[in-house]
Subunit: 223 residues, 3 copies
């Protein structure tokens, strides 16, 4: 049994919103969007997953519009990217290097957000008496939602449909939280261990370029 | 009056999820996505419409994450496409023929899913005391939603905006269910007849390339 | 205190749906879509924002599918664009001029819809006891939602991510409504003044090509 779910929940959410907000801001800057475009994309990436989670659980209005701490985390993330991007870019001699830099940074931030929201999503779902299957899937959707909306708005192929393992670590993390709850081992410590596990799996998958198998003889057409 | 709405409902939903799941899987394979991309797109296509329906009706969590039978139908559909796609493709001598094959298969499956979900969506809405207009529109949106989300994620022009009659058969089928309910003729038999009607109209529309009129002198720009 | 919120609400909504419906229809015609594509895009643009608002506030089914007046406004808007587009286009000698014409018209209609929905969204949120922050953000999202969904479906870069001030006037208008409510000055007159203010700010921003600052040394890549 978790004694202080609410505060753990908030910490996970604020951290998740912040790192996904950074990823959204970076995608926006790379696209050449202005300050408000950066803030909108930071907001969408940071708060999209939690909004879907809340709608799925009937929590209205969603925390994305009612909790000022989450809004502040997204705005700070977007603003920080906007202000610091020029400085950071200067470190790289060639623009191509800078762009690869950003892609890598987006992926790492994405992995952290994925881990935080998978656990947070499952925790909220359990606290609303969702069943084990629903809590696992809602955890996974919470983790994936923000990045998915970010990519759809920025018109890039959603990360979750790309080659490396993405949805699986999120679902595994959420399932682990459900399992821990079942065997009464859910605590802030074990919840953070679940976060760490998802993050490590995802980062290793990116680093090793671990791909799920592709259909034989499929003919990829980027139309 | 319908005596056994719940089981009819489930059968319609499982069938609809399965055929839309196949369509999502085929689109994913054609795009060269890996196993998880195929499963995600099968899940989105199969369960997207029902999720929108449930959110519109305040059913939380949506059946898409709480009913394991629907999830299983989507996973089986995605997995089947993934495994069988190579075999199937072998039948065709030229890759171009195979691709046309797939496009036709996606359209047929889409037509079946459209028919099943139009009726199922209207039934669920009526069971939740939605008015006739709301039940008709929710039926139409349930039918269109999954394919729409699939196309947005796979970055292709949504089928519903394309040339052949697509939304109209779905709305007609949902309206027919509402009408049957009004005159107390709604039964599993008449519900399945409504499914068959939508399917036939849509297939005939595709086969005859029936188009709704286009605005005069419009200048299509595919930017 | 507002004596007759419901009827003010309906007038704002019907006007907002109509102008956003026109914008959706114009985008569809420009894309060469047929009659149903035009109606679908008019419906999405006109009713998308209000649907998101209602889902965020737990109003089910959303008015977008239950209020025939709103549906009628969207259908009339889409139909009018479809019928009158050919006539209008005739006025222009060169197609390029026509297209610029349409782009400008879409922007003006968008500004009107933005203003109407920002105020309407905040009003509905307040009437459902949302807090000041939530009411402001829900007003902004209501204003932005329809155009955003329209642009995603029509596969163009969402207006809200583009250069000119877009989200800011909407948020300012919603915040003004919340403030007026706080100081007991909210009336149909002041609500319409808020609508006018948002419209004027947005139109001036477009006319003067007012841009928010862009990140230094960002490298815009339109991939």
């Amino acid at each position: 049994m978790l004694t202080d779910t609410a505060s753990l929940q908030t910490v996970l959410d604020v951290c998740g919103v912040f790192v996904f907000g950074l990823s959204g801001g970076l995608v926006a800057v790379r696209r050449g969007l202005d300050l408000f475009g950066v803030l909108v994309l930071a907001w969408v990436a940071g708060l999209g997953g939690g909004t879907i989670r809340d709608l799925f659980l009937g929590i209205t209005p969603p925390v994305a519009v009612s909790d000022w701490r989450l809004l502040a985390a997204a705005v700070v993330a977007g603003g920080a990217v906007f202000l610091l991007h020029g400085v950071w870019e200067d470190d790289d001699a060639r623009p191509a290097g800078g762009r690869r830099h950003v892609t890598r940074a987006v992926r790492l931030l994405d992995a952290a957000g994925l881990a935080l929201f998978a656990v947070s999503g499952a925790l909220v779902a359990l606290s609303r008496d969702a069943g084990p299957l629903a809590a696992t899937l809602i955890g996974g959707i919470t983790a994936i939602g923000g990045g998915l909306l970010r990519d759809v708005l920025a018109r890039q192929v959603p990360e979750v449909l790309q080659r490396e393992l993405y949805a699986l670590p999120a679902l595994a993390g959420a399932a682990l939280v459900v399992l821990l709850d079942r065997v009464d081992l859910l605590s802030p410590l074990t919840a953070w261990l679940a976060v760490a596990l998802v993050f490590v799996i995802r980062v290793v998958a990116v680093a090793l370029d671990l791909n799920a198998p592709r259909a034989l003889r499929s003919t990829p057409t980027e139309r």
